[in-house]
Chain length 695, copies 2
């Protein structure tokens, strides 16, 4: 795959040809022409169809070669087998980008893949960029261009949000939602199979487009997650990216894989978003609502909200939602309260929320907004505005619009009205760039997305610590040997040697073969001990009698060894380790995800991981801040920090182990899975007492 | 408060007078006339205003007494102090119901309350029902009546959902949402202060109205929760009631209390809903969407969904949401798959979800719907329908509509389109009564509400067990004595005696005063023991050294006693009990809620209750089924049932203790709070080891 940083021929075409243009109403080859015309595309449109003379009043050409003028962008909508030849023709014509809407390529198997490779190599030869195949296309709403190279049905107003969606269906839903919400978009792209022009590339293009204030992304899988993270991190440094993936349930992930062949599950994708500074959503509607706020409002300095309301119930609902999203609703300052006492109606309730009451007019809203804008402890303003038929609502709207225009603090509005009957009021709010929502909950969620973004921007990314005290050579040797032997599951000795080489603390251990050696090992370590049959052939050791815990003396040790000999034969070796009762169980894991690197997991062991699924993730390499955040983000974090007089765990040590594990799997990517389950945290110490490595 | 079961004069007025009618455009007295006229009210409208001759073309009267015809319903919108006199006049005129829109009564303090009591007693004298004050009013969309006795701004089409909202603001939002969703309503009521006509009464009225298929309720507080539960249980036996309350956060509850003087917190309200068979929501939008499904679709027989989609991404999102809501997506039967292989397009994906692909037309949808309706393991059908511009979408819509009309299985549709451009398709779906939603998530949530309702309807309510082996007399005596002494916090001896009287198992205990008595008590019980200083004066005993645990012998007992003498003086008595280390900690609590009865709580102790807030509630009296459900509903329920080889707890015993506690507080409602925290479950036994009762 080759990369050009300039997707202008695709997104800013000077002339568009359509190979496979059709006179038939219900056909893609007709709809695209219709859309280009309807949207008012500023360049020439060239239908290509050898069988007709004109389509929708436009002269049709027998071949792309016959078109008199230059063509920088061509659509291809003809059956798959004819596509490579037409790509060749496009090359001869000097076309610079092609949108292949036609489906039936790699998503249909080997034959399709061969066709895809065929047209890709021809395109490469001519330096043509391919968008698709099996895709919708692009839209550029720039009034100077108005390129609707797409077969969808929504004609967006120009705006400040650009959309890129791997699924055309979801892209269409998002675009239509913005349209219904009354806000415009800047550019749109849904690239289907993504055989050449990729999502990261589109993201970078949007990132450098000054017309886009925010980017909305829907993606189910990534061909190259690392490239994506790199590009996304660059883009999010300057511009908010709001994203969603699907497949957060097992069943959903399965469906995603079957229709799109996704590589990365939803956990990885969410972690990829997080690592890239992307704001992620689990719900299309929340995503769209948030984007509305991002398109028009500044980002608040913090999480403290002042609420102005002219109705009671919706303000209670708003508070519930705001607080649930982690926002704070501080009380009014005395100064502010005093000022408001002089300006509000008698029945007003002068607190935060400030209930100006339903009969409040423009002057009351103005005074309220004035005071709230000055209130230092308010970072943002939430307004409930129901339109009472006995109030001059247009004047109220004018006040709201005027304050919104100052862009000092973000304002969101739960605007409760009949938009058709209050059309002029609605228009004033829209022109004033006030994000308006139908429900208290949706307005609150949109505001909380702005706050969440502020939090992400202000968070430290942290540093990736390089531990110089590790023994790379030893690990390399162990892994090499395992590879030679064809081992997949490492033996306990191999695992513990690797952990020690990376200074990941393990309980004292010894290896022994004969019963006497077991006893001397146990004596050296000090009773009580655990004795394990150490063989890669014995899996689920504890289920089959391969583990004896709390062995307190020589006699017990002997008995345990004899039992295991009886079960597994005399060929086995023993792994003897210190028995650690009590303490807090932790679990640290690493799992290689195709193209992503390793997903690093941290959690409390036992019921917390197995029943409550209370675990935190990041992607390797884990920074120091990420290690800290993983600990903080657990629901049961209180146990880590100490609870009911217990001291909790040594956080620094836990963070260090997380980072050492991360370094180990980053340095040795052949490790597919590593599990320290459990580690026991007791006093200042944390020891791995059971561990597993799979290559 | 007197009750009449007939609210017809209010909801079906034959003539409406408006006392305080105004010629001023932006006034309530004008807006109500305007609304009645605009909505096409079928009866006569009588403006009352001594200063003008006509309002909006209607003859105005100086006084209600001057109106020539009969008046059954009057609005009063004049200032508070004039209201009682006008109520009197209404009585003389023979008015049967009055909507007092005017605010400024009990919500404004003592003077307002006096005015409210004044007009109420006059109304009672004349047998007039009062609606309000401080309220919006009612709407009846019946085409034969079209009564819009309300100052809001939404003019609903006739429909099958009736709304009652304590908050006018929230009521208006819900009504407008239905309007925007394209569905009608049957009746609407927002009764403000609710001084006479109450929410239960309105609920009962809606319940008996054959025109209402579902009822939507918003309520923040209840004057008489028991009456509400009784009425709501009657209504929900025949008709779904969908409800929401607010104040689920501390801050929200506080705001609710300040604007409405709510009695019941949100936990109680949700439990009240549950106990009454009401489907509860935490989000207005979810509630409205669910109501749309209830208004047109049958209730499914179970939770298994068949998905038909013509686009990929949205079906993944739908699956995520459906599965998250507890719905199942079973595979297609072989029979169904074979049938579909013959009818679907080549590129279709024949599974569940069935991807008919974007180019699918009416015949493909017809075949898919046909097969899915026959599939026995599908209880409902979810459809993703994006409108491709190259497909005859009207024909597809006609197929969907035809299948919806059969009402065999519920259908919901994520309808992805530009509704303005696809107007006729949209109309076909609407006329076909197909609930259409803009997002996969919202369609999935609406469907899951139907499934949730089915589950509620099929759940056993259970029985309230009466335990005949309890000693009421003893408890009565202890509580009597405490009352005489003026005690609020009962002593350990009192608490444990009460528990034993109700056969709630407690660890072995004795009371002692002298050191020697302590020792002989400990010896009788058997070491190890716990020794507590038993005085109501010492609160937070363990913090101040009033509790000594794990006392293993006479010496340690003596030492503990001496220490406490030193701290609290020689006047104290001691409470000696068996020390129970290990086991699973449980917590059972009861708390009296004004007018509700007792809220009964069950949970796992320690971190589960304190950090994870993993507790379940019900309202007394707890039935056997409710006790079981409380245990099942915990996130950490696996611990109760046994986890990792541990046996779990004796569930029958736990259920019995819950029910005994429930019976105790029901029989002795003077118990404000009872806490068994913790109980220790060990083997087959469960013992209370620490308990508290507050009167």
């Amino acid at each position: 795959m080759y990369m050009s940083h300039n997707l202008d021929p695709l997104f800013k075409p000077k002339a568009v040809a359509l190979i496979g243009a059709s006179a038939k109403e219900l056909s893609i080859g007709n709809v695209i022409i219709k859309n280009l015309l309807h949207y008012g595309y500023k360049g020439p449109i060239y239908p290509v169809n050898p069988k007709v003379d004109e389509i929708r009043g436009l002269k049709a050409y027998s071949s792309i070669m016959d078109i008199p003028g230059e063509v920088d962008l061509a659509h291809i909508v003809i059956p798959p087998s004819f596509v490579p030849e037409e790509v060749e023709n496009c090359g001869k014509k000097g076309v610079r980008a092609i949108i292949i809407n036609t489906a039936g390529f790699r998503e249909m198997g080997a034959k399709g893949l061969a066709l895809e490779n065929d047209f890709l190599s021809r395109a490469k030869h001519y330096g043509i960029r391919i968008f698709g195949p099996n895709c919708q296309g692009i839209i550029n709403s720039d009034p100077a261009l108005r390129a609707y190279c797409n077969f969808t049905f929504t004609f967006p107003e120009p705006g400040h949000i650009s959309i890129v969606a791997q699924s055309g269906g979801v892209g269409a839903v998002i675009m239509q939602a913005f349209h219904d919400l009354g806000i415009g978009i800047r550019m749109y792209a849904s690239n289907g199979n993504g055989s050449d022009v990729s999502i990261p590339e589109i993201l970078r293009y949007y990132g450098s487009d000054e017309g886009a204030r925010a980017i909305v992304l829907y993606v189910e899988s990534l061909d190259n997650p690392r490239e994506f993270m790199e590009v996304a991190s660059e883009v999010t440094a300057n511009k908010p990216v709001l994203a969603m993936t699907a497949g957060r349930t097992e069943k959903g992930a399965e469906a995603s894989r079957s229709h799109i062949g996704g590589l990365a599950g939803s956990i990885s994708m969410v972690q990829i978003f997080k690592k890239s500074g992307i704001l992620s959503f689990t719900n299309q509607e929340d995503l769209c609502h948030a984007a509305v706020a991002f398109a028009s409002q500044p980002v608040p300095k913090g999480n403290k909200v002042g609420i102005i309301t002219n109705t009671g119930g919706p303000s209670v609902i708003a508070i519930d939602e705001l607080v649930s999203c982690g926002l704070e609703i501080p009380p009014l300052s005395d100064k502010a309260a005093n000022e408001l006492k002089g300006t509000m109606l008698e029945s007003a309730s002068i607190h935060n929320p400030l209930d100006v009451v339903a009969t409040a007019g423009a002057s009351h809203f103005k005074s309220a907004l004035d005071v709230f804008m000055k209130e230092e402890q308010f970072d943002s303003i939430y307004v409930n505005f129901v339109t009472p038929p006995f109030v001059d609502c247009e004047s109220v709207a004018r006040e709201l619009a005027a304050f919104s225009k100052t862009r000092v603090k973000p304002i969101v509005c739960n605007y409760m009205t009949n938009k058709k009957r209050w059309e002029s009021t609605t228009k004033i709010l829209k022109d004033g760039d006030i994000p308006c929502f139908d429900f208290a909950e949706t307005a609150a969620k949109a505001l909380s997305a702005l706050v969440r973004y502020q939090r992400i921007k202000s968070e430290k990314k942290g540093k990736v610590k390089i531990f110089p005290d590790v023994d790379h050579e030893l690990v390399k040797e162990i892994l090499q040997n395992a590879k030679v032997k064809g081992t997949e599951v490492l033996s306990a000795v191999e695992v513990y040697s690797i952990l020690e080489a990376f200074r990941i603390p393990v309980v004292p251990w010894r290896v022994a073969t004969l019963p006497d050696e077991v006893i001397s090992a146990a004596t050296e370590i000090g009773y009580p001990v655990v004795i394990k049959a150490d063989s890669e052939k014995i899996i689920h050791k504890s289920d089959v009698g391969g583990v004896a815990v709390n062995i307190r003396n020589n006699d017990e040790a002997k008995e345990a060894v004899e039992k295991m000999f009886g079960k597994f034969g005399h060929e086995i070796t023993f792994f003897v380790q210190k028995y650690m009762p009590g303490g807090i169980e932790l679990i640290i894991g690493a799992k290689s995800e195709n193209g992503v690197g390793h997903l690093i997991m941290f959690g409390l062991g036992g019921i917390f991981v197995e029943i409550l699924k209370d675990v935190a993730f990041t992607i390797s390499p884990a920074t120091d801040s990420e290690a800290e955040e993983m600990m903080n983000s657990l629901k049961a974090a209180a146990l880590i920090n100490g609870f009911r007089g217990d001291k909790g765990i040594n956080r620094d040590k836990a963070a260090e182990i997380i980072q050492r594990v991360s370094m180990l799997v980053s340095d040795f990517p052949e490790i597919m899975e590593l599990d320290l389950n459990p580690l026991i945290a007791s006093g200042e110490n944390i020891y791995s007492v059971d561990a597993r490595i799979i290559l």
